[in-house]
Symmetry: C2
Subunit: 157 residues, 2 copies
DNA sequence: AATGTTGATGAAAATCATTTTCATTAACAG
DNA sequence: CTGTTAATGAAAATGATTTTCATCAACATT
C-alpha cells in the first residue's frame, strides 16, 4: 500500500511498474518536482530545479520521462502559446485539484479558476457520455481554456 | 458592403485595412484556402495548396499571415499534438460553424462534434460572464477538447 | 496616371525546443 | 551476485517557426 508521508513506495510506483517501467532516481526527482510545483513547468524548468540535487539527470531524461507520464495520463501537457510545452500533474495525484485556465493572448499569463467548475463538470460528464457512445470514442481527459486579455494587459492599453 | 458572391471586396478586407494591413495576393490566397478547407491545415498545408496558383507566395508569408489572422481573432491556432500548429477559420467567417474537438491521443485523429453544443454554449456564456467579472479578464474565445482513444485505435488493440 | 512612403515579401540563415543516436550504466528478476 | 535489457547522458540531428535583409509593391497623395 503506497504511503503519503514520504516513506515507502510512492503512489505512482505501482502504476509505473505495472507498465514495465523501472523506478530511477531521475524519475523520482521529476515526479517530486511536479508534485511540489505551483506553476506550469516546462521541461527545462524541471531540469533546472532538479539539477542541483541531481546533477546526473539530463534534459533528455526529463523529456523522456514527461512523455511517459503524459502517455500514462498522470500528467497534462499544455500549449499556452509561449513556444514550449508546459506540464502539470493530473488532479487527484497530489495537491492539484480539477481546474481550468484563462490564457492571456497578450502576455501568456495563466489564471487557474475553479469557479463554476461543478456546473462545468456536470455538463462535461453528460457530454462525455453522449460523445463516447455516438463516436465510440473513449474519453480520458479534457481541456477547457478561455483566451483573452488579462487585467494587467488591459490597463497597459 | 462586402459581398459574399466572389465579386467585390471580401468580408475581411475591411477589418484588415482597419488594422493598417494591406491587401495582397498572397493574403487573399491564404484566406481563400482557409475558407475552402474542410480540415485543420498546417502552414505547410496551406503553402502547398497555394503553390500551384501562386508560385510567388512563400512559406514565410504563410506563417506571417497566419500570425496576423490569429492576432485579429479571425483564425484559431490549435495544437493537436502532431508537432505542427493547425489553423481553422473562426466560426461565422464562412461555412465554419461553432464546434469542439475530440482528439485521439494515439493517432491524432480529430473528430469535430456539435452535439450538446447548445448546452455547452449556454454554460460557457454564464461562465464567461462570471469569470470576466471576477478576474477582470476580457474573454475573446475558448477551446474545449476531449482527449482519448478513437474507434479505429481501440480496434487495433 | 505617376510618385513616394512604407509595409510586405522571398530566400536564406538562424533559432531553438524536442528527438535521435549510440556507447555506457544501472534496475531488478532470477 | 549475475545477466538481461531498459534507462541514461552527451552530442548530433531534426524540423517547425522566426529573423534578416535587400527588393518589391500597396495605396495614399498628388
Ligand atoms: Mn493548471
Ligand atoms: Mn475544427
Ligand atoms: Zn496579459
Ligand atoms: Zn486514433
Amino acid at each position: 500500500m503506497p504511503r503519503r508521508d514520504g516513506t515507502g513506495p510512492m503512489w505512482w510506483h505501482g502504476r509505473f511498474r505495472g507498465c514495465g517501467y523501472r523506478i530511477t532516481a531521475g524519475r523520482e526527482a521529476i515526479l517530486d518536482t511536479l508534485m511540489i510545483a505551483d506553476k506550469h513547468l516546462s521541461a527545462e524548468d524541471i531540469y533546472n530545479k532538479i539539477h542541483n540535487a541531481y546533477p546526473a539527470v539530463g534534459l533528455t531524461t526529463v523529456y523522456r520521462t514527461l512523455e511517459i507520464l503524459v502517455t500514462m495520463n498522470l500528467v497534462f501537457k499544455f500549449d499556452f502559446g509561449d513556444g514550449r510545452a508546459r506540464y502539470e500533474l493530473v488532479e487527484g495525484s497530489k495537491k492539484s485539484h480539477h481546474h481550468h485556465h484563462l490564457v492571456c493572448k497578450e502576455c501568456n499569463r495563466i489564471i487557474e479558476y475553479t469557479d463554476f467548475i461543478n456546473d462545468e463538470i456536470e455538463l462535461l460528464k453528460k457530454t462525455e457520455k453522449g460523445l463516447s457512445k455516438k463516436y465510440n470514442f473513449e474519453i480520458i481527459s479534457h481541456i477547457i481554456q478561455f483566451y483573452g486579455i488579462c487585467e494587467k494587459c488591459k490597463k497597459k492599453r
